[in-house]
């Protein structure tokens, strides 16, 4: 009999559980091809793709994505933004969670086997971000014995360690690296230069990018295998180079970073 009361308590938990389970709607699938488009971006990359406190999204990737979506016939309010963390990008495209991805997504042969790419719309390279008043680091070869930060699961810090003898510190987010860099506990942050530019822009005058990239990353628009929109998107990317939209997207988001806008890349219609 008393068991009923316990059952009631357990039942209350069950109710709370099911309510809470309904509460998060972020798992909702997309309706590709309808009057809406779902685009995967980063939510935590200042200057490229990030969620602002007012609930809107901003960044170079976001502006490029908006431009492409508009070219495909979608208004801004028809775009649903979805967080695409690095590990989820291929699966999101394969199972239709998103219609396309602009999330610092490098074109590689491995990925080409699983998804299609339009672009590249930007060529990035691994570089170093240091404190603005630090004159001791002029390139990766100066990193011997210096403390270098990157995020867990990326190979960027390991590379600087193996090739240039730096001491790596790995955190789970760039935010922590930036705080440590500000405080002087580490000497440099390494990842793609345009991501670094996002932080340089966020903290004006505090940091500088060394500007000696030691790798090449071609950022592309990720699409499901066999997507019909690929040619159209390639055209739109080229159009953005010509009509100034590309440059504007860069200047609006990364213009104060002290980082020079490179030449637009050549679109690879493979």
């Amino acid at each position: 009999m008393k068991f009923k009361k316990i059952a009631a308590v357990v039942g209350a938990f069950a109710l709370a559980g099911s309510l809470a389970a309904c509460g998060g709607s972020d798992d909702s699938g997309s309706d590709a091809g309808g009057d809406k488009i779902t685009i995967g971006i980063k939510f935590d990359q200042p200057g490229l793709g990030f969620k602002k406190a007012d609930g809107t999204y901003a960044g170079f990737d976001v502006d490029m994505a908006t431009y492409i979506a508009e070219g495909l016939g979608y208004e801004e309010d028809q775009i649903t933004w979805k967080e695409a963390v690095s590990a989820n990008r291929e699966t999101f495209l394969k199972d239709g969670t998103v219609d396309m991805i602009l999330a610092t997504y490098s074109i590689t042969d491995e990925r080409k086997a699983e998804v299609d790419f339009a672009g590249p719309y930007y060529v990035a390279g691994q570089d170093l971000l240091i404190r603005a008043d630090d004159s001791s680091i002029k390139g990766p070869e100066d990193m011997k014995g210096k403390k270098i930060c990157s995020v867990t699961g990326s190979t960027s810090a390991q590379k600087v360690k193996d090739e240039y003898g730096a001491v790596p510190q790995e955190f789970d987010s760039y935010s922590k690296c930036i705080t440590a860099l500000q405080g002087g506990q580490i000497d440099a942050l390494t990842t793609d230069d345009i991501i670094l530019a996002g932080y340089a822009e966020e903290f004006p005058g505090e940091f500088k990018i060394v500007g000696q990239p030691f790798s090449e990353e071609n950022y592309g628009v990720g699409l499901p295998k066999g997507s019909e929109d690929r040619d159209k998107i390639n055209d739109l990317i080229e159009q953005s180079f010509e009509d100034g939209a590309w440059e504007k997207a860069f200047n609006d988001n990364l213009g104060n970073s002290g980082y020079e806008l490179p030449e637009p890349p050549k679109v690879d219609r493979y």
């Binding site: 867990t152 699961g153 390991q158 001491v167 510190q169 705080t179 440590a180 405080g183």
Partner: protein, 230 residues
């Protein structure tokens, strides 16, 4: 098994780091836990409040955040907790040990307190009757009995602590060679060898069993050997 030929030494090194984290945190959390427990039963009200506040705060904060505050609050802001000139990996190691010790000590404290509750009233009363002071009473009569009666739950806390060393991955604790502790090493291997996930998991699961099971057995044996006969 080319998994072993490729990763064998890294796995050993990772568990070595886990073991070192566990041993240091174990010792410090026991010491700190006893201090906190003494605070919590002491005759000085302000010490009791401090003990309660420390226990309450750290028990209700996720260890991930405690680790974060050790590194970013204690070390980066207050510049204490580790030597500023020590190598990076040693700094992080010390801070992880501080975080784990403080966090675990609150659980040690509560276990000890429940142990003190199992010491019969007459024991403390008798001790006071023959004129022992609070500290003599605690040191000579109550704590020795309390400690013995809580060996098993204390072992549970220590086993949990050994497993909690994995959270050190969030502040990037590595060995001098740059190898992560066990959970970080397992993640790296799973990322690189996607077709051997199950085998990798079993290797690390066995590793942790080797670390944790003896603690339980030892406590079971010791609690029988040192049982307080009443």
């Amino acid at each position: 098994m080319d998994l072993f030929s490729e990763y064998g030494s890294a796995i050993l090194e990772a568990f070595g780091l886990t073991l070192r984290l566990a041993v240091f945190s174990g010792i410090f959390s026991l010491i700190l836990g006893v201090v906190l427990a003494v605070f919590r039963v002491s005759p000085v009200p302000v010490l009791r409040w401090i003990g309660a506040a420390v226990v309450y705060t750290f028990r209700n904060t996720p260890l991930t955040l405690v680790m974060f505050f050790a590194l970013f609050g204690l070390f980066y802001q207050l510049k204490i907790g580790a030597s500023q000139t020590a190598p990076l990996n040693e700094q992080n190691f010390q801070l992880a040990v501080i975080a784990l010790s403080v966090y675990t000590s609150t659980f040690v404290c509560e276990v000890l307190r429940s142990g003190i509750n199992t010491v019969p009233l007459g024991q403390a009363e008798a001790a006071r009757a023959i004129g022992l002071t609070f500290s003599q009473n605690l040191r000579l009569v109550v704590l020795p009995q309390a400690l013995r009666s809580v060996l098993n739950p204390l072992a549970s806390v220590m086993i949990a602590m050994i497993k909690n060393t994995t959270v050190a991955v969030t502040i990037g604790v590595v060995t001098a060679k740059g190898v992560n502790e066990a959970s970080g090493q397992m993640r790296t291997m799973m990322e690189n060898e996607a077709d051997q996930i199950v085998l990798i998991f079993i290797i690390f699961a066995i590793g942790f069993m080797i670390l944790t099971l003896p603690v339980g057995f030892l406590a079971g044996w010791a609690s029988k050997k040192f049982a307080v006969i009443r």
